[in-house]
Point group: C2
Chain length 427, copies 2
């Protein structure tokens, strides 16, 4: 493979999980699209020696480029720029033009909030953010922090370090300027096309797939295949050089042949398929959720343009809400209980009727950890999708935590919608 890169995500808040890192994966995917391979993402707290160790490690793996995210703020725990500068043998000094620019941004931010800043104290923070390693390329701030491209000092070898801010919007906003800067282009000059293909199965066990792959091992040379089981979906991602395209074509055909009854996508995600299905068929949808508490509506409205097909939904936690807002008959609730196949049907029908939608989805269940009974233990969930051509329903017994039960229920509802809208294997 061609050029490799390493990623360092800084911040004690990321290391300890108070913030979920979105930068490492985002950067890895951007680099992959450029044909740059990533072997490691190192998450490191706000400590000088730990950051130095991470830089030393990645340099030792032979990468041509290291990208850091975070640690460019005004507080003392933000130390990336200085550490990278000294790691590359380029001592930092304040850049007066940059200092004025950042001071302007901070002043505007404070004025907008009606803050009166202590000018001297604020100036110290600004001065810190305007420190630039000698000979580094400055990337214009998107927020308050600039980006930096820091090659090794003259006469040294090693990777170029691209220093980016932590807030994802700032990092992403700076990306194009970063990768088109001369020193970064030079660092990834050896990149080569790396193709990636994805196949998604719904209802195949990983052990079964492993057996198939073992049988056909000899034919899979040149393919880097990774499989991942997530919420019942088995995702098979294959990366390969263009020369291995024939091998991939054979592998793809093998999967289609062996798993025709569970293969629901050769690319698009479940959410893509559902959105495309609604758009292409011109149908509208409304939801009626109990245990999932609005998560299905939230997921359906995640993408831009979803107001074209999502009319709305009702979260009916209380039984009174099920009756009054969704016309679930009191007799059905009494006879079968709120968690029942019959109530799921009534919820789907009620959502459809109340919103005047083409498709209605009803979900009712016991998400736990409390509320379970011998007959209806935690994880019991009933889902119904009612559409112009009839209804499809599922009764589930899901293992796992409250969060897992809620998420998996939403995913099952999405598969019922997918099967109704675009066909493919049953949900």
């Amino acid at each position: 493979m061609g050029t490799r890169a390493g990623i360092v995500v800084t911040g004690t808040e990321v290391l300890t999980g108070r913030v979920i890192d979105r930068n490492g994966p985002w950067l890895a995917e951007q680099l992959r699209q450029l044909g740059v391979d990533v072997g490691h993402v190192v998450v490191v707290g706000d400590r000088t020696e730990d950051l130095q160790a991470a830089l030393t490690f990645l340099t030792g793996t032979g990468v041509g480029l290291i990208i850091t995210s975070g640690g460019l703020g005004p507080t003392a725990d933000d130390l990336t720029a200085e550490v990278v500068g000294s790691f590359q043998g380029r001592p930092s000094a304040p850049d007066p033009a940059l200092e004025r620019r950042i001071a302007d941004i901070v002043e505007r931010l404070m004025a907008r909030r009606g803050w009166k800043a202590d000018p001297e104290a604020t100036a110290a923070g600004v001065r810190k953010q305007a420190q630039v390693p000698a000979g580094a390329t400055v990337l214009a701030p998107v927020g308050t922090a600039p980006g930096l491209v820091v090659p090794p000092a003259e006469g040294r070898t090693g990777p170029t370090v691209l220093v980016l801010p932590g807030p994802p919007a700032e990092l992403q906003g700076m990306w194009t300027a970063a990768v088109t800067s001369e020193p970064v282009e030079r660092a990834i000059a050896g990149r080569e096309e790396l193709r990636q293909q994805t196949v998604r199965l719904w209802g195949t066990l990983e052990a079964q797939l492993a057996a198939t792959m073992r049988e056909h091992e000899a034919e899979l040379a040149g393919l880097e295949i990774t499989t991942c089981l997530r919420e019942g979906e088995l995702e098979i991602v294959t990366r390969f050089a263009p020369s291995a395209q024939p091998a991939y074509d054979r592998f793809g055909a093998l999967l289609a042949e062996t798993y025709g009854d569970t293969l629901f996508s050769t690319g698009p995600t479940l959410d893509d398929l559902v959105a495309q299905g609604f758009a292409a068929r011109g149908l509208t949808v409304a939801t009626a959720e109990s245990c999932t508490g609005g998560l299905l509506a939230g997921r359906l409205t995640e993408r831009a343009g979803s107001s074209e097909w999502v009319l709305g939904g009702v979260v009916a936690y209380a039984n009174s809400a099920k009756k009054e807002l969704l016309d679930v008959p009191a007799a059905v609730l009494e006879e079968h209980g709120a968690v029942s196949a019959e109530v799921a049907v009534a919820l789907a029908d009620g959502a459809r009727a109340r919103f005047g939608a083409d498709v209605g989805v009803g979900i009712t269940g016991v998400a736990g950890p409390g509320g379970g009974t011998a007959e209806k233990p935690v994880g019991t969930v009933h889902i119904c999708v009612a559409g112009p051509d009839g209804r499809q329903a599922r009764a589930l017994r899901l293992p796992g935590s409250r969060r897992v039960v809620r998420d998996r229920s939403v995913t099952m509802a999405m598969h019922l919608l997918r099967a109704m809208l675009v066909g493919g294997p049953p949900a």
Copy 2:
């Protein structure tokens, strides 16, 4: 500080962001509670040499324990156990008792799905999962994969490696057995108590806090302070040895004094405060959401027991739904438009009345990327909370993507609820 540990998260699907890692942060927090400090989490793809490099790196940082997650499945890309075994100088061999146990589990799983397995092919996967490095301690499987504790071979020095499965439920289910196993206890014997305190500000700029901390730098010795700005909340987390408690007490008092108008918590999260507020005051709530599409209802119902106070909600994307399910007057919609302060009030009142709730929340806005106008650009959001003692409303102009606008709107609604329920600084 006492004992340190390092974490290796394996899996190309994690490295490339197809799966968000929950194990690294979870493990780091568990270790912190035990008094074990974590300096690095390394995310690594499913490649032997990359995993070896990560183990070598962490060993070099002087840790006493390395924990790996993932790579214990039946497919060929799952290679952690074998790589760790050879790294520690302990060659792997099949464990017949473990092999029978895993075979039983796989057979049960397949039977449950009505699969007919090719026994020979499945057996190969089971045999792979039952490979145990010589002298390693086996932790009983929670799913199909066992955990392993692998000390360095006799006569070698270096950290003990604890090998755990990737699925979070399996990893967490194995944790107690893992940390109470003799070789892990020995590896973290030097641990020392490390205290952690959190202060949360809503509406203070990071630059302002940085200035305060710089002024008082001399008094903060012995405190490891990290600050993190997330969705408008400034979170200040401080870790310290018991001997630095007086220094922390002074720092806490300083924050309370300087930021009395924005300090809303000295521990609990925003969601904790809202849940505690509803429970303590015996009030119920219902939501009426447009641009947030159910995310507020989903967030309010995230925790167990929330059905005590959440009656439900309506996602009213279509104007017809606003009128028919929430009684928003047609005249108000026509005069002010769906995105307006007046409609937010009508939504809050409508949710309150329709669900018979004590508190109603209305949210309407332009989440983007389309739908903005000169007068109401993308990011324009109106929120109203109506309760027994009156209404509180906010008009926002939020920068950022569709996702950011939706999430930030929900957070602002949560702050309005927090201020109404438990007081503290205004939202």
